[in-house]
Subunit: 501 residues, 2 copies
């Protein structure tokens, strides 16, 4: 096969691969949003067969020859195509090490497990999920060992979500965070200035919350011709191309902030995917480069923008107009303090900025213990509760608000969670850099979100998977300095809680 033939083969391969990924992604999205309960019977078959087709397509001799030809002749290729060859070669090398039957069985297990988790969470029934969760952990580890036999399988998992990340790096990072956050949190929780906003307690009709989501998506600049919102047990974002990005949320009648911040968070993910370069979308370099970079976008919008004083001022008129009975007395300052109320809590997705990373550390520890074989799925609820007591000082009343709260493990996302903490910390450095280009607070006050989007698009979004995530971040921010994040938190919470520094 010569390079020209390989380039033709690449185009064909990318279309086929895109089609299968699109179909599998939609089947998964649909099952979380729209599909009736028993559809899982057919879904397992379909996802199994499509993943088999995907495996066979990727590992077919002609595909392998195409990829190897391009990889061996990378110097003749333009930069984008050479990067495609590099990534495809890596993917091929890894997937070939997994036996086909194991690969397919794992995909089917994840489909089944996700459905069982959903019901288990709704019914607060951990025992029904336990055997599948154990199999998920076992099989994920087994596959990680296939891919990298000589490496700690948990490091392989971390690398799947954030290229190059290791447990040792995480530990060091979490130590830095702990040293900064724990004393600050101690001062906050013992401060006499406790924040509680009675105006935000009570009932906020879901129908109006839905309108609020549409308003927020519009403020953020999500193109309605290319993005939609659905409703799920656990909020998430999925994309099939830059022309079709789906976010989801979960409405709680008694908690306006929960869906509001999940919409802003998922909206951040969506903006990234909506702004991938035209020439990369639907190719093997389409989509966000890693979960760390992805979460750095979503957490930036959720917290650095969404929990800023200026954003509170921006959305206040809408809230007062649409909840006149409840919120007419709300002020910008009261809203700002309310959305930044810091206190140890049960639910990660609803945690304030200060306690958020402690939720991540609990999951990191549990995943490592599971992978090390120190605990089993039988032990997970008790260990979860023990670590929540240790890290956050609170008692977990039930598994629904404990070990069952997140969907990640049910779909095999072991090693995903640290990305949230890294992404959160990245955000503080973006803010410093962005402020060198324009005044971010002024842009938010003015509702000028296109300034922020333009900045990210040119530096991160449009590149898709073109650069390694660490390289991409370093190009924008120099290098990773967690202390910038600690400083950001200190500055913010010292003021809110009237602490002397």
């Amino acid at each position: 096969m010569n390079v020209k033939e390989a380039l033709n083969g690449l185009k064909k391969f990318e279309e086929q691969s895109f089609a299968l990924g699109h179909a599998m992604g939609l089947l998964s999205y649909d099952s979380s949003t729209v599909a009736p309960k028993q559809s899982v019977k057919a879904l397992t078959v379909t996802q199994g067969e499509l993943s088999r087709m995907s495996y066979e397509l990727t590992t077919a001799p002609e595909t392998a020859e195409m990829i190897e030809t391009l990889h061996a002749n990378a110097k003749e290729l333009d930069f984008v195509t050479a990067r495609k060859a590099e990534e495809l070669y890596r993917d091929l090398d890894r997937i070939r090490r997994i036996p086909k039957d194991l690969y397919v069985e794992y995909q089917k297990l994840c489909v089944e497990s996700d459905a069982v988790w959903h019901d288990a969470k709704v019914n607060n029934d951990y025992p029904s999920f336990k055997p599948l969760l154990q199999r998920i952990f076992d099989m994920t580890k087994q596959i990680a060992l296939c891919i990298e036999p000589g490496k700690d399988p948990y490091d392989t998992q971390l690398d799947n979500f954030e290229r190059g990340l290791t447990a040792a790096t995480c530990e060091k990072f979490f130590d830095t965070l702990k040293k900064g956050i724990v004393p600050l949190l101690g001062k906050v929780t013992s401060s006499p200035e406790q924040v509680r906003e009675p105006l935000l307690e009570g009932v906020f009709p879901v129908a109006v919350q839905r309108d609020f989501s549409a308003y927020v998506m519009n403020v953020m600049g999500l193109d309605p011709e290319r993005s939609v919102i659905g409703e799920t047990e656990h909020p998430f974002t999925t994309d099939f191309s830059k022309y079709d990005v789906r976010i989801t949320t979960h409405y709680h009648e008694d908690d306006l902030l929960s869906s509001m911040y999940s919409v802003i968070h998922e909206g951040g993910h969506a903006l990234y995917e909506l702004n991938i370069g035209d020439e990369l979308t639907m190719s093997c370099l389409g989509g966000g480069v890693s979960m760390g970079i992805h979460e750095s976008q979503s957490r930036f919008y959720e917290n650095i923008i969404g929990r800023s004083r200026e954003f509170c001022g921006l959305i206040l008129p809408w809230l007062r107009e649409h909840f006149p009975d409840r919120l007419s007395a709300l002020t910008q300052e009261r809203l700002y303090r309310a959305v930044n109320a810091s206190a140890p809590s049960l639910i990660r997705t609803e945690a304030d900025e200060l306690t958020y990373c402690l939720h991540i550390m609990v999951r990191f520890e549990l995943e490592r213990m599971m992978f090390a074989g120190n605990i089993t799925a039988e032990d997970l609820p008790a260990e979860w509760n023990r670590l929540y007591k240790e890290y956050l000082g609170i008692d977990v009343p039930d598994d629904r608000r404990g070990v069952l709260q997140d969907s990640h493990w049910s779909f095999g996302g072991i090693g995903y969670f640290p990305s949230y903490a890294i992404g959160s910390a990245y955000g503080a450095q973006y803010l410093d850099e962005m402020n060198k280009s324009f005044n971010v607070a002024d842009a938010v006050s003015a509702g000028n979100f296109s300034l922020i989007a333009d900045w990210f698009r040119e530096r991160i979004w449009k590149f898709g998977r073109l650069y390694d995530p660490t390289e991409l971040f370093n190009r924008v921010c120099g290098q990773f300095r967690p202390e910038v994040y600690i400083k950001y938190l200190e500055n913010k919470f010292n003021v809110i809680y009237g602490l002397t520094t």
Copy 2:
């Protein structure tokens, strides 16, 4: 390949074929219900690739050998497997005659065309749809001629939707209908007892209509664990297996009956799919056998049940309770007369039983003229309007309520429409037969829909594609006698309109 090997191959083929069909079906359903507008850019690629995979799977040498082996050894097979071999052999024989590129191009055209039709209807913009519609007609005819070179391509299309149906049979059937319906309609429209129900005019909030749909689906016995409702421009039903059936409707705030009868109609389709035999669902004999039989179920529920006096009595309390301001004065008799008000109208899906088949005849004539090359897409709106004047005596005010109203042509469903008329006529014979088993009116009064469902399940639904549609109908009703339908209409409308017989 021996029979045992072929049987293993069959199982594998059925799973792969099911998976691709499931994925393509969901992509299509999603694009009509949830997907953002620009998703069509990726959808066209994905549906094209998946249809190419489906074509390649079906025509692969090993698939062909498997099917031919089973077909040649049908006597050794159990009845179900022999029927699978027979149907697969026919499918293979037909699909092989279509060049692959043409097959794929046609699938992509249908995806694109459906999206363009949708916008054209919303914007009343026929010119934007015209060139695609012409291509749909041209390419559908071209493919029909590939499949059966020696046959009138319109007969091939009719056969695709109702095995064995020809234009000549349709003509004869429509003549019989016209002879019965036109004089009756003449008497009805000149009757002094004109039906108009002012209580049903005005605004019925969509939120309450949604609740009503849920109520109606429950009354009909649609299992909520296996069926859901969505909202689309044009109502339809799609199924991926008996475990996942989707119906859709379109809500009009000023027309309660429109969504009510589309839900009952689509509910009839759904009941059929929900009750396919366990051993047939997800196999190549799963799903309803033909559109004629399918429409005979949906039209039976919509009209013979849904427009009966007893059904009106059954649902009246719900309507009065949920629309107390508007409908507290509504009586069973007034509702019965209102839902059977007969008058020539613009929209097929909202037509009364008496005028309905005239809408079908218009489409039948237009399709035949298009296939004969007597008119082009350029002429369609004017020809549509001319035939509405001729058949129904009314003027069509715009294309949105004229030639653009139905989705069928946009997805290549040329030759589908006669199934609605045949299905409608079948219903009257089912009613006679069903009344030999139990009193249908009493069952409806009592809300005992499981009696009706049991009757259909044992005679039609559970068999899937196991029998030829004509054979299936004849097993239940002897043979097709359109005069039974005419008699049913005469009896019903003579009473409603106080006509002397």
